[in-house]
């Protein structure tokens, strides 16, 4: 980390950069913000906001089950559970004729209730309540490494599969007619969202994680006219709110997660106004 640290000190000659935890938080945000942004573009296009929200909630069940069977590494337990949860959601969604939002809501409620019940029963709730709002300042070097690896994986997947994903989101049968393995791509996408959400949830928080996936993309969608701008704006908004949120939270003594979401929210409403101006009604 030595090299990165000295680069950061040169680019950002602020007082807070003297603190290791601020540096780590900044590195983690710079890595994960673009990933949230690009995954968000397709989550928003596919109207999957509810899906990613449910995944966040499933983290609680993952933590609870992990603590129950005594997995010491919370990340592994949560990730495995979330992947299973995501695939199950996908499967049920494909098999039923009910609205997907109803099914997802059922799963989401059960996940939260089960998680709370088990944690309360085993007396572990207080130990894990920090997962609800998260604590970005406590991120460790190992966790940054996880973030770095998953960021690479997402970018590689995006590069090779984005066109397919885009076509599936516009019309599944059309995608199928072009020889795309729609189920497979859809499942990989869901698994990646699950992993990204689980890796970031300890420092972003269950209650806030979905806004970071949705808001930058939703803001960008307001003003972008094609896929290139859609991605570019989303990444810029995500990075800006992440870094600005971290810095303001330091100076105003507000938790970082909520601060990032507030800034993202403000950007969203600004783009909404701009949209009215440039795109008409």
């Amino acid at each position: 980390m030595g090299v990165i640290d000295s680069i950061l000190e040169i680019i950002l000659p602020f007082e807070f950069m003297n603190y290791e935890f601020m540096k780590n938080a900044l590195i983690a945000l710079v890595l994960i913000a673009p990933i949230f942004a690009i995954l968000g573009t397709m989550i928003v296009n596919n109207k999957m906001a509810f899906f990613s929200d449910a995944l966040g909630h499933s983290a609680l069940t993952g933590i609870a089950l992990g603590s129950l069977i005594g997995i010491t590494n919370m990340n592994i337990g949560m990730i495995i559970f979330a992947i299973g949860f995501a695939l199950l959601l996908n499967h049920v969604k494909n098999k039923t004729t009910y609205g997907a939002d109803t099914i997802i809501s059922v799963f989401s409620s059960i996940a939260i209730a089960l998680g709370l019940a088990i944690l309360a029963q085993t007396g572990n709730f207080n130990q894990y309540s920090s997962y609800l709002v998260g604590d970005i300042l406590s991120i460790s070097d190992l966790e940054i490494l996880y973030v770095f690896i998953i960021a690479i994986v997402v970018i590689v997947f995006w590069y090779f599969s984005f066109n397919k994903l885009n076509l599936i989101s516009i019309n599944t049968t059309l995608a199928k007619s072009r020889g795309i393995k729609t189920r497979k791509i859809d499942n990989i996408f869901s698994i990646l969202i699950a992993i990204v959400v689980m890796i970031s949830i300890r420092w972003i928080g269950i209650l806030l994680i979905n806004s970071l996936l949705i808001l930058p993309a939703a803001s960008s969608r307001n003003i972008a006219k094609n896929m290139r701008w859609y991605h570019l704006y989303a990444v810029i908004f995500s990075l800006f709110s992440g870094i600005a949120g971290l810095i303001t939270s330091y100076y105003f003594n507000i938790p970082t997660g909520p601060m990032i979401v507030i800034i993202s929210g403000v950007i969203y409403f600004i783009t909404l106004v701009v949209k009215g101006k440039i795109k008409g009604k």
């Binding site: 076509l167 049968t173 006219k225 094609n226």
Partner: protein, 242 residues
């Protein structure tokens, strides 16, 4: 591109679809030749869309689809072009016609810089359908007829052996429908492909089809438009057509 020669034959053999215990389609066989427009008609719930999804391999089914070139009698893997009934769009959405088209025919990710060669290629193909000036527009901002032309352009690149269109004129005005059928006519005569069209509009089916297939879980009647429209089977389902 090759003109229709009438020597390519697509055989859809014994397609059956079951969902749970419900039989949706039973033993559907359809043979079509290139240069032919076959229109599938049937009431709501007769299994028309299910048949298309089975042909495209989106749902599990029994039976198979065989494509033969009768010139040399070789069975080949069939290339199918598909024009959906509707697509998931919203006004002003950040997907341009180029983004949609390029996503369909290329692996160069559309979120990166526009590929100039690909852009020209797409524009040229859109031009055949009078849609080249739409290339940079958002697909959410196209009219029904414009979107139709774009979707047909996509489905015909590369030239498929079989072009499938699902209920494509719903929600279009008279001029739009006329344009649509003149495009189909052009494809039928100028290109070497068979066309299957699913339609609710019986008048149009009668006017333009070479062959009409009346579907109700199975093929009830097939033949020339007159044969089918005057048949007892047709009258039992739709009543007398003026």
């Amino acid at each position: 591109m090759e003109k229709a020669c009438g020597l390519h034959c697509t055989k859809i053999n014994n397609i059956g679809v079951k969902i749970g215990n419900d039989v949706i389609l039973k033993d559907v066989s359809i043979h079509i030749h290139c240069g032919e427009l076959s229109v599938i008609i049937g009431r709501n719930g007769a299994g028309k869309t299910t048949l298309l999804k089975a042909i495209l391999g989106e749902i599990d089914h029994t039976g198979d689809i065989v494509f033969t070139d009768q010139k040399d009698n070789i069975t080949k893997k069939i290339k199918i072009g598909y024009v959906p009934q509707s697509i998931n769009i919203e006004r002003h959405m950040p997907t341009s016609v180029y983004d949609l088209f390029a996503s369909s025919i290329s692996n160069i990710p559309v979120f990166l810089k526009k590929d100039n060669k690909l852009y020209k290629e797409i524009k040229e193909h859109l031009k055949i359908f009078g849609a080249d000036d739409l290339i940079d527009k958002s697909i959410g901002d196209l009219s029904g007829g414009e979107l139709q032309r774009v979707l047909i352009a996509i489905a015909t690149k590369p030239t498929p052996n079989l072009l499938i269109l699902d209920e494509p004129v719903s929600g279009m005005d008279r001029n739009g429908i006329k344009d649509f059928y003149s495009i189909i006519n052009k494809l039928k005569t100028e290109y070497d492909m068979s066309i299957i069209l699913v339609s609710h509009d019986l008048d149009l089916a009668r006017k333009y089809a070479d062959k009409v297939i009346l579907l109700d879980k199975e093929v009830i009647k097939e033949g020339t438009p007159d044969d089918v429209f005057k048949s007892l089977e047709f009258k039992n389902r739709f009543g007398e057509l003026n």
